[in-house]
Amino acid sequence: MAMAALGEDVEKRLHGLSKSVGRIDPEDILEVVQSVMASIEGDHTSLNQRLHADIEALAAYINTAKAEIMKIRADKINAVYLPEASDQLSAIVGATEQATNEIFEAVESIEELASTMAPEQAKRIIDAVTRVYEACNFQDITGQRISKVVTALQNVEIRVDALLQAFGQEGGAAAGGNGTAAEESTATKPGGRPDEDLMHGPALPGEANSQEDIDALLASFD
């Protein structure tokens, strides 16, 4: 087969595949590769020999990738490790919330006692109590950060599930999808809220606008 015709044939087959299934399964690629290889049997120009070698290498690469993915037990990652990581993170949120509530109970009692003290002592107590309230911001912030990590894990789960399906293993993820943008969107946008694109959660230190930055920005509207 002439090179131009061969190129057209490969292109036509790949295009047909992507049209018919929406995404290309590695098995389908192998099938195309084998079909193309069969069609060039006996045509031994130097270019065709090089193409033949490249396609063989591609087939070997895909087979190796399949074997490697089987070895890492991606199904176990989805069925065991990722859910366990999410559960552990959720437990952290629960534990810090419980501890924070207990801190509140204790500090609110101390604050009540302050009203029975001399004004100067009471002020010192109230100031200390206020600092404890301020410090308890951590529970909200860490909770939001952990929620971001859980969402990231859900996205990893979807992608691993897509990998499992592509390479022929049974998908173990609850989502059970093929990693489409729509499914990823569901994981990252639980409520489908109109201002979802503005919900970033707490920024990392050094990346966040400070209260002074925000005040300056607000003042620029006046």
Binding site: T100, Y133, N137, D140, P194, L198, M199, S210, Q211, F221
Partner: protein
Amino acid sequence: MAGVDKNMSILIVDDYKTMLRIIRNLLKQLGFNDVDEAIDGSSALAKLRDKDFGLVISDWNMEPMSGLQLLKEVRADVKLKEIPFIMITAESKSENVIAAKEAGVSNYIVKPFNAATLKGKLSTVLGSF
């Protein structure tokens, strides 16, 4: 402006109970004792339509209705649109501040915040006290 009515009802909205408790306690220290709570924009809106509030202090990131959606609902409601509305949120990006300002937010506090910042913003929005 002077003479803030410390008997006014204040609605605080946040899906973290810890944050509701922090804000409630700090408001109590500042002399505001009539504080009601809601855990998202929808329940807050129902409370706002049921009772007169002098101030709303709301988080942004909540489900099913966010703080920004709540703010837009409040500003679009003839009876509620004048209520001062302070956003307290971990969302610190400029685009968030701009979106909130364009929606009519009265002031914006970024978490984690301290008592002095809360007091300062209350003074700015309600008047000195």
